[in-house]
Structure formats: C-alpha cells, structure tokens
Amino acid sequence: MTGTTRLAPDMALQRLGELGSRCDPLNYTVDGRQPRVAIRVASPEAVAEALAVCASGGLALVPWGGGGQMGLGNLPERYDVALDLRELKAVVDYEPDDLTIGVQAGCSLAYLATILSEHGQMLPLDTHDPERITIGGLVATGLGCPRRFGYGSLRDLIIGITVALPDGTLARGGGMVVKNVSGYDMMRLHFGALGSLGVIVRANFKLLPLPEAQETLLVTFRALEEAMNGALAVRGSQLAPTALALLAPGTAERFVGMARWTLAARCEGPDGAVRRQAERLRETAASLTSDAYVLEHEETLRFWSSLQGKLAATPLTDRIRVRIGEVPSRLGELAAQLVSVWDSVLEDLVLDVGSGLAFATLAGTVEELRAAWLDLVAYGRHATMLAAPHEVKVGYDVFGRHPEGVAIMQRLKETFDPERTLNPGRFIALL
C-alpha cells in the first residue's frame, strides 16, 4: 500500500512499554483472549503516540476503561495491546454555572456523579457498577438507560469530543458550548462506534439540574397485554415520567418481590410535584386487576441502578444478553413471542417502553444459546448480542442484521484506521 510505514513489531512493543506503565495482561482478557502487553497511559498525547506505534508496527489494540461493557463486540480478529485509559480520569473543564463539563475518558461514573451532585447537577445515567464503568466506555458503546425517555441519552448530551487517531494525532470536534454547528459532528461519529475509528480521550457534555425529589411508581398486572396497555397509556399522556420500563414476572420478583408483569415509571422534579405526578400516573396506568406501589427517593435510585445491570454489556460466561429494538406499540407482541418460544432459557426480560428496546437475558448451554440467538437475531427492528460467552459468538456478527450504509462504515474505517489497528474485527460487519 502506498505510503505505508512499518516498525518491527518487537520494536513497537518496546516503544509502547516506554509510554506508560505495564499491567498484567491477564486482567485484560477479551472474549477469552489475552493481549501480548497491557499498558496504562496517563496523557492524551501518550494515547496518540501508542496508536501511532501500533499502527506502524501492525499491532492490534483494544482500548480499555473499567471493562464493565467489554461484553459488547465480535471476537477480536487480532489482539496485541490492551490500552488502559483509567489514568485519564480528570475533570478538565467544569464551570457549574455553564451547565457543561469536560472529562477525560477514564473518569468513572461514580466520581463524576460525586463532583456533579456537589453542585446540584447530573448526567442522567444509571449504572449498576458506577465505580467501574467509565464515561469513555459509555460513549464508545453508546449504551443508554431508560431515562432517555425523559432526558435524552448521552448521545443527546454530548457536545464535544477529543479522540486519538492511529496516525498519532489528537482530533477534536464540537466544543464546550451547548449549541454548536461549527464543523462536522465528530461526537456522533464516534458515539457507539466501539472505538473502531479512534480512541476517545475526552468528552464534553451538557448537564442537567439534579431533581429535588425522585419517586418510582410500580404497577403490577396479571397479564402482559394489560400491562402493555397501561404502559402505552402512560407513554401517550402528558405526565412526563423520565423512564418507563416493564419487567417480566421473573425479573420483577427478583427486583421488587412481585412475580407479576410490573410497570415502573420514574418521576423526577420538585418534592410535592413528584408525589402528585406519581398519583396521576397511577390513575392512567391502572386497570381492574392492577396493584400499585411507590418507591421513595433512595429506593428509586437503588431500583433503577440495579435494574441497569440487566441492560448492560457486562461480559457473561454462561448466559447471553440480547437487546432488541422495536417500536413501543409492538413491544408487547415481541415480549409474548419471546416468552412463548424461549421460556425454558429466558431468565430476565426488561422492556424499556420509553425508548423502544427489549433486553432479554438467557441462560443455557452453548448449543441452546446459539440456537436462541439464531432466532432472536430476526426479531424487531434490530437485535444485538450485548454479551455472550465466546463459544456462542463464534461465527456470528453480534450486531445482528446489518443496517443499510455498511459500505460507508467500511470507508470510514479505511479512512480513519487504514491499518486496522483499533479493535479489529470487533465492530459491526467485523470492521
């Protein structure tokens, strides 16, 4: 290829060692595969340099945050270097009165939430593992949470980005202002691209005021159809819950101790208003056989963050988790089909009715799980295996049916990562 430059791989590995501290490769397993080296870098420049070294040495690199979402991705085609970004954890730019923040990619959600809550602000994110999940990991995987219904997702709140590219440069897009149409939207180019086009080293977000009070209305139903009607009635109302999820009986039993279809509607706002909102939601969602409960503030926070554990791409060794996109009005049908066909292996099912996403966790043998995925991949508008044992992933594209425009995605990959240095094989269409 014209213009290709080469470093001997051994020399490249040696140079990498000079860029950061070495870590134990055992802790950086991806789908059962270990890297040759794992290094932890402390500056954006070192990340860019490491990428250039890898690109020139023909080495394959996997960027790492806390690893909490490392379940997402196809089996790596090659894996030489794990690049740990958790030393890049600074809050670089935070002026609370501007309601914006710029943070480095390795910043954990727990740390970020602490800083923000001191100023009565937040990013509307839930996670079951806030110490481990990093902001960079969330941007790279593009995985949201049910509060998208009320606040939009991180995709809506990201206003700037800095990425390191395999040519050794650092490139920015956007900025620190909430309205910005200067240049191409590089934020959304990298959002959800699984670090396949660049390694995210920094992201900027617009923030939201922390609500004074939170409550969750739980309404339990005997039958799925009844529950779905309640959910859609709330969705179509002006009552503005910030999240709306429907839990299958087994899941509901584990989370709130009631083995019935359970609708959870989250209310956030001023103290008195939230109470009244929950009451009005109950009137809207209720049916003849339904029961309703309210989770208070602390219980609400606990409920939604632990529920997120069933929606996340945490690596799984004996189960698979599948995310299926389907319009809210057809989610009920989809759930009914899932339950009737896969009941024997279906462990958890959560319908994010606000967003239009279903999350199914299935437990079984490798053969059962492979068979299940072969069926589920055809469900809904799109289906993705968020996590699975590597034996289940073999031979499949975990991103399911390909959307249109894969040719453009391939060209983007060729442009930004011509040597296929970044996460080779792991993204959609084995990019």
């Binding site: 020139s56 501007d98 440069t169 309205k179 149409v181 200067s182 240049g183 959304r188 959800g192 390909h402």
Partner: protein
C-alpha cells in the same frame, strides 16, 4: 457530454417543468438568505426541482457521470451561504418534495419529505397533541430538510435540544447516487451513527430525501414571562440565577434596548420601551411544576433588578409576548438599510463580558449593534447595522464581526451556534480547530464524497481538500518514526 445533451438527460429525469436553465430563471438561485455583499452571487448551471427520491438519485448519478458539482437547497433561508453554487453545477431544490408521509403518535415519529415547511409540520401535529421541537426564527419558510442540513436551533432548544436530537432516521442519497435509510424509530441502531453524522453536514455528505422526525408531546401547561431590566448585565445575572436554581425553561431569550425600540416602532408588541433589556422566559411541563416555577422565576427576576414582570396566562397573551421576539430581525429595517447577523455561542457565564466587548466594538467601528439572543444557552446574535452604499462601511462591518467572532472563540465559544459554517464562515474554522481537527473532518468528508462533488467549497476551510490531507497524514506518520515515505 455537451450542455444540450446534459439538458436533455436532466429533463428526462425531472421532466421539462422541473428543470431551469434560463439565466433569468436561474437569477433567484444565485443567492440564498446570506448577504450577497459578503457571499457574492453564484449561478448554477442548472436548477432541478425533483419530485421523488428516485429522481434525486438519478440526477446525482448523472452529475457523477459528467463530474459536475451538486448543491442541495431547501427554501434558501440559510444565512451562511450554504446553498450557493460556488463552482456552478446542478442545484437540487427539494421544495416540491413536501408531503407528510406518515404520522405515528403511538410510537412517536413522523416521516416527512425534506421540502415540508418547519411550521407546517408542527401545525399538522398540534391537533394530535404533538409538535416538532426545532423552531428556527425562519420556521414559516424554512424546510425540514434544511433544518437537517444545518442542525438548526431555535428558542426552544434550551430545553428540547437542537435538530439532531429530534431526527430519528434519514433516507439519503449518497454522493455515488445510492439511496439508503439510516437510523429508525427506535434508538441504538447498531453500527456507526450515520444519522448523527449527516445532520448538520450542510449537504456536503448526501441529500436527504425523507426525514423521520421525533414527535414531542405538547406540554400540559405553558407560561411566558416578560421581565424588564435596567441593562443587559442585570438581565444576564437573572438568567444565571434562574439556571442556578435548577429551573430549565423551555426558552430564555434576551433583547437589548435597540431591539426593543425597533420592535415597538414596527409591531407595537407592548414591550416596555424604557427597558435596557428584556428577558422572555417560557416555562412548560406539568401544571403544578409550571405554576411553581413561574412564581420562582418572577421572584428571581425581581431580585435581580427587574422593575416589571408580566406573566402571560392565555395563549393569546403568550403569542403577543412572543410576537416581538419573533419579529425582531424583520424590525431591523426600521434602524438601517442592512444588517449583518452574527451567530456565535459562548459559555453562558461569559455572556456579560461578551456583551460588553460587543458594545466596545460597536463604538470602535462606529456601527450600531442590536442584540437579540438565546440567553439561556449562550447563543448570541449581534446584528451589526449598516448601509452598504456608504463607502468603507462593508469593510468595517467585516472587520468588526471578525473581531466579535475572535473574542467569542477566545472565551471558549464557537463560530456558529445554529446558522452553519457554509461558505461564509469556512475560513474562520482555523480560529477554533487545529490542522489535526480539520484533517479528521476532511477524512469524514472523503469517506462519503471522495470526488468532492457534493456542495463543494463549504464547511472546511480553503486548502483542506480531502486528497491532499490524506497524503499529508501518511507523510507525518513516516516522519514521526524516521521512516521513509514510499
């Protein structure tokens, strides 16, 4: 292919009444809403008005075959010269593709053609209890396709976000003529977020032929307050206080004395003429929250020196308060024959200092500047008033507006908040972005449009041709490791 043959081919695609190439007919397409004093006028070789996506695709394929540029255009209300045919070519005007194809309230989306007028969409959705949130000042004329191209904003994006937050999917004709759908009614479509990349790309990456928009539920309650302040400084402090109190208004707009005067002279909206600045605050949401917050905002304004606070409770009263704001640009004709509208965003805390700097520059360059802007999100719109026939004035305007931009960038702001870069601001891009940043953007462009036929000479500064950038990057990599570039 000679011109006559090309004309025949185009006419076969869009029909004889969908093709314009007579110089008189093309005259109107030499301009958009940018000022020709600065942007000049540029005649396309042909203008076509397709009625279907297939026609758009066929025109693009033909343009590819003959190597002619393609320039998409909606209503031509863009202010940055984005719809100008800088290198001639075929202007594809999408205003005849103006049908609302599907409205699905239950699942929260509608599919529309790009030529649908922004306000007409919201008007059609309103009886069903929904609206399309982006509401640029030109919403009576601008098209949804244009909103997509420019990632348009509007007063209500403080709470609801800009266009990109409301576009779920796109049918787009790519520069090679292929037509694809991106995104869809549900989020987290696997793969690169092409929808997100295309929104705001100013027609340089593709032509949108269908738009899937998010429907937003109309709020249960709405209130609008108008607060009169002695000056911009005090009004800015009130703005900060409202945000600091954890209240997120649907809109938070400010107008200065000069604008108030112009608006009152022209439209008699009933604004207090003596005010140094007014804040227009809209709150919406659940009844009880809106009622509460209206009281709190009124109180915060009074605490920050507002000497009058009016609250509109009916729709008529609200519309009247908005009338002045929405007519502000139109009222400028009362003050001067021409105005140059600067569109820039600064971090909100930098607003008072930025306004002081704008005032200084107004004195320094002897040009009156009126200010009407989205205070809540720091999006300024200084209107530099001038008379193009006065010698030297145009040059002074350019210098003055460049100084404003430079200052805004220096305090952490950006070149354009909602109007786009287009042709007009492309050479300012180097004020904000490094060579590396721009190379990455050029890489994005190259991935979509390697021949650079789609809306050429826009967004990226002069000298950032994609091919040249690619070679430069490879050379840099070779140099870094002391290797030979082969």
């Amino acid at each position: 292919m000679d011109r006559a043959a090309l004309r025949t081919r185009l006419s076969e695609i869009v029909g004889p009444d969908g093709l314009l190439d007579d110089p008189d007919e093309l005259l109107v397409y030499e301009y958009d809403a940018s000022d020709e004093v600065f942007a000049g006028y540029h005649r396309p070789d042909f203008t076509v008005l397709p009625q279907t996506a297939e026609q758009v695709s066929a025109v693009v394929r033909l343009a590819n075959e003959v190597g002619l540029p393609v320039i998409p255009r909606g209503a031509g209300t863009g202010l940055a010269g984005g719809a100008l045919a800088l290198r001639g070519g075929i202007l594809i005007v999408l205003t005849r593709m103006n049908r609302i194809l599907e409205v699905n309230e239950r699942d929260g989306y509608a599919i529309v053609e790009p030529g649908v007028i922004n306000l007409e969409l919201s008007t059609a959705l309103q009886p069903r209890g929904y609206f399309f949130a982006p509401d640029p000042a030109s919403q009576r004329a601008c098209t949804v396709g244009g909103n997509v191209g420019n990632n348009s904003g509007g007063p209500h994006c403080l709470k609801y976000g800009v266009t990109t937050n409301h576009i779920l999917g796109l049918e787009v004709v790519l520069p090679d003529g292929e037509r694809i759908w991106t995104g869809g009614p549900v989020p987290e479509t696997p793969g690169v977020d092409l929808t997100g990349v295309l929104v705001g790309s100013e027609g340089t990456l593709g032509i949108v032929t269908k738009v899937m928009v998010r429907l937003t539920r109309l709020p249960e309650a709405v209130s609008v307050l108008l607060a009169a302040f002695p000056d911009i400084e005090t009004a800015s402090h009130a703005t900060s206080a409202i945000i600091a109190a954890g209240i997120l208004p649907a809109a938070l707009e400010m107008m200065d004395h000069l604008t108030i005067k112009a608006v009152e002279d022209a439209f008699h909206a009933g604004y207090p003429r003596e005010a140094g600045a007014v804040l227009l605050v809209e709150l919406d949401g659940l009844q009880e929250i809106v009622a509460d917050n209206t009281q709190r905002v009124a109180e915060l304004c009074r605490q920050h020196s507002a000497w009058e606070v009016r609250v509109a409770r009916t729709k008529e009263e609200r519309d009247l308060l908005w009338l002045g704001r929405k007519s502000a640009f139109g009222a400028m004709g009362r003050l001067a024959p021409n105005y140059y509208l600067v569109d820039t965003t600064v971090p909100r805390t930098k607003l008072p200092a930025t306004m002081r700097r704008v005032e200084e520059l107004s004195r320094e360059y002897r040009l009156p500047i009126a200010n009407v802007f989205h205070a809540g999100d720091g999006n300024l719109h200084p209107l530099v008033l001038f008379d193009r026939h006065r010698p030297g004035e145009v040059e002074r305007v350019l210098e003055c507006t460049t100084e404003i931009l430079r200052y805004c960038v220096d305090v952490g702001g950006t070149l354009s908040g909602e109007h786009g870069i287009g042709f007009e601001k492309r050479d300012y891009m180097t004020l904000v972005f490094t060579t590396e940043d721009l190379c990455a953007m050029a890489g994005l462009k190259r991935s979509f449009d390697p021949r650079e036929l789609f809306n050429p000479e826009k967004v990226l500064p002069t000298g950032f041709r994609c091919g040249e950038v690619a070679v430069l990057r490879q050379q840099a990599l070779a140099q870094r490791f002391g290797l030979e570039y082969v």
